[in-house]
């Protein structure tokens, strides 16, 4: 328990600060000294029967201590903010202290023996704290606390009952039976803690696991086998099992190699930081918002990464095109990180859940991209406003269209019908007045007037809205128009049935205005009108063989057409080289 507290204190104290070179040298020297002491003790001590030759035991204990101390030191130096390095250093020195049991003096022996089982628990601690050195979750913390408590307290109880030779200061009357019973409990409990710890690791991997995103984590996972070894070793020792020496060997080797693997994992994080410096270089260029996404995705090694920009005026997040994005409807395995700049929300990062394990990386990357993010946010806002504007223009045009249709309908059902009925009435009256030719002539004249009015009304109604278009579709409506055109026109319509009314109306007016222009300016001898559906678009194309060189700026005709087309999210283009005819092309998006 005391050791755990020290570990906390040490790692907390080290947070954020890189060790100075003096500290590094001192720790390295202390590590070497500790290794030397262990080595000497092992050679001089009476330890055969545990692992074999004293020399081999000495080598292994030295390697174990040095491996943790030096790897930990390297990790601390490279990643000062990470507590994992100090934790490894602590594990190394603790291992050294535990080797003091080989000393033939009372105090070192008693201390070493008291913490004899702390190193295995520390190894468990290291596995659980990878990669940032923090033990996350109340359950895991409780697990480690219990493991430390068991390791130390039961060891003290065992020492109380004796059986450790003459240097044990804590012995009060030898009771070998009790000592053995307690040891069995101790080994079983620590094995159990290791198994639970393994379970925690497995669950964590299953829940957050994206081995593809961080391949060294696979290697680290493999070294979880070290914990399995520990369990096997302890259970064999407690209950007697086969191959105890072999297992002991394998356990030591695995545990000795583990720090190197951890270090590789952390150095990979280091690689990530070089990706981060690439990001900084990228950001110096003139990044488009989609390039920015790519650059962030590369730096954070998450291809699925996406950005949503905060648009306060619209009270929503939006993609770079200004389309709203719902942050609540995230899929499984996805997470969000909010990015603020100078206290103001700028954007949200939508990323793979496993990126959440690297808050420092996330923080660094988003901080580096701050200015570019703000630019992209402004662009998203601009697009959203444009989109809104386009929507309102479409609504204005639609409302106008609706009103014109209503007027046309009123004319059709009202005035036109009444005039026809009136004309009919006059004609029937005329037939009855056979005896009065003068009256007949005047009635006939009146009828002609009405016929003229009807023709004018028909033009007005047609100008308001071509009823044939809503009744019978684009192709039928274009046939008459083309037949009345001032030049021979070849008409091709291939749109597969009826279209949405705004589309039909826009296409109709594009053709109508273009044909009118051909009549007025083009001096053409023929033209083609082609209306076709292709790849989610209605393409309306009018080509003439006239003189070209049309003035596309002057006159409201083309401008009005462009308004209609753009309001539907489409595009109107005109090619009119002098002497090369004129080509009008409208592309209208269509479901």
């Amino acid at each position: 328990m005391a050791t755990a507290a020290t570990a906390q204190a040490l790692t907390t104290g080290a947070e954020g600060a890189a060790p100075t070179s003096k500290v590094v040298e001192a720790i390295a020297a202390a590590g070497l000294a500790a290794a030397g002491i262990s080595f000497t003790l092992a050679l001089r001590g009476d330890i055969s029967g545990q692992l074999g030759e004293p020399l081999v035991v000495a080598m292994l204990s030295v390697l174990l201590t040095l491996s943790y101390v030096l790897c930990g030191l390297l990790a601390w130096w490279r990643r000062p903010a990470n507590r994992f390095g100090p934790l490894m250093i602590l594990a190394g020195f603790t291992n050294f202290v535990a080797t003091l049991v080989w000393a033939k003096h009372d105090v070192p022996f008693t201390v070493g023996q008291a913490i004899d089982f702390v190193p295995p628990v520390l190894f468990l601690h290291v596995f659980l704290a990878y990669p940032d050195g923090r033990v996350k979750g109340g359950f895991t913390r409780a697990l480690l606390a219990a493991a430390y408590a068991t390791a130390i307290s039961l060891e003290l109880v065992r020492m109380y009952y004796g059986g450790f030779g003459t240097h044990n200061l804590l012995e009060h009357g030898a009771n070998p039976g009790a000592t053995q019973a307690v040891q069995k409990v101790q080994l079983t409990l620590i094995s159990a803690f290791c198994v639970v710890g393994l379970g925690v690791l497995v669950v964590r991997r299953l829940r957050h696991g994206r081995p593809l995103r961080r391949s060294p984590s696979l290697l680290v996972d493999v070294f979880g086998v070290g914990l399995v070894m520990l369990v096997l070793l302890f259970l064999s020792a407690a209950y007697g099992g086969p191959w105890v020496p072999q297992i002991r060997w394998a356990t030591f080797v695995t545990l000795t190699l583990a720090p190197t693997v951890f270090l590789i994992g952390l150095l990979h994080e280091r690689l990530a930081r070089s990706a981060l410096s690439d990001l900084v270089v990228d950001l110096r260029g003139d990044l488009t918002p989609s390039d920015l996404r790519e650059a962030l995705a590369r730096a954070l090694r998450d291809p699925s990464l996406d950005l949503a920009y905060w648009l306060p005026q619209f009270d929503t997040y939006a993609d770079v095109d200004g389309r709203p994005v719902d942050l609540v409807e995230l899929g499984a395995g996805r997470a969000t990180t909010l990015i603020d700049r100078k206290g103001v929300r700028v954007a949200a990062l939508l990323h793979d859940q496993s990126l959440g394990d690297e808050p420092e990386m996330l923080g660094a990357a988003t901080a580096a991209a701050g200015m570019a993010l703000e630019n992209a946010r402004l662009q998203a806002e601009l697009r959203a406003r444009l989109e809104e504007l386009r929507g309102s223009r479409a609504r204005v045009i639609a409302a106008g269209q609706k009103e014109r249709q209503r007027l046309e309908r009123n004319l059709h059902d009202g005035a036109q019908q009444r005039l026809i009925a009136l004309s009919l009435e006059l004609n029937m009256l005329e037939q009855r007045l056979e005896a009065e030719p003068e009256a007949q002539v005047r009635l006939d004249q009146a009828r002609r007037e009405i016929a003229l009015s009807l023709a004018e009304l028909r033009d007005v109604a047609h100008g308001l809205h071509p009823a044939v278009l809503s009744g019978h579709g684009l192709e039928v409506a274009l046939q008459s128009m083309v037949a009345r055109a001032p030049v021979p026109i070849r008409l091709l319509v291939d749109v597969h049935g009826r279209l949405e009314e705004p589309l039909e109306v826009a296409a109709y007016y594009v053709v109508s205005e273009s044909i009118a222009n051909i009549g007025k300016h083009a001096h053409a001898s023929s033209a083609t009108v082609d209306v076709r559906r292709s790849e989610g678009q209605i393409v309306v194309e009018i080509v003439d063989d006239g003189v070209g060189g049309a003035d596309t700026e002057r006159g409201t005709g083309l401008r009005g057409l462009a308004d209609r087309v753009e309001a539907l999210g489409g595009r109107l283009r005109v090619w009119t080289p002098a002497g090369g005819g004129t080509r009008v092309k409208a592309e209208l998006p269509c479901a």
Partner: protein, 214 residues
Amino acid sequence: MRVAIAEDGVLLREGLSRLLGEAGCEVVAQCGDADELLVKVRSYPIDVAIVDIRLPPTHSDEGLRAALEIRAQHPSVGVLVLSQYVELGLAMKLLADSAEGVGYLLKDRISDVKDFVSSVRRVADGGSALDPIIVSTLVSRQRDDDPLANLTPREHDVLVLMAEGGSNQGIAEKLVITTRAVEKYVSTIFAKLGLPSTGTESRRVLAVLAFLRA
């Protein structure tokens, strides 16, 4: 002659009914929409159905669909479509297969009672009646080289009346010439345009229209 009328404007429906009644026709059905008309056509022996192209409920193409259905299901019933606009494309739909017993006129034509009644009779008898606007649109269409330029003005007039569905006798009366003279004009026109002669007057309409559209 038994007539069915489908027209949603009461004023016009009543007027039509009255003028046809006075002309000696028997108006057996006055309908406000297309479904009602189809029921009546199925139930009664009818010579000709007069259909407004714009009928409830949507006032889009209900009338045209009813007309096409009657043409398909009841070939013996003449169909005269009335509209406040005449469109070439719709004429082509109506006359897609044959010009027999079919007419398509602007509503305004009602007021010339004599002409209108004769159109109705013609359609009832299996002839055709096409609005002058349609024919003039076709005749005045811009062409690369105009074969109609070879026709004399009189031949031109005969061609137009022929296209409108006029019978030889009707054309003769309109132009105040003899039917024999009309027959002569017709064969000259066919020869000049390079059309094979066709027998019935309604086939003749189709041939001329096809020529004018080409």
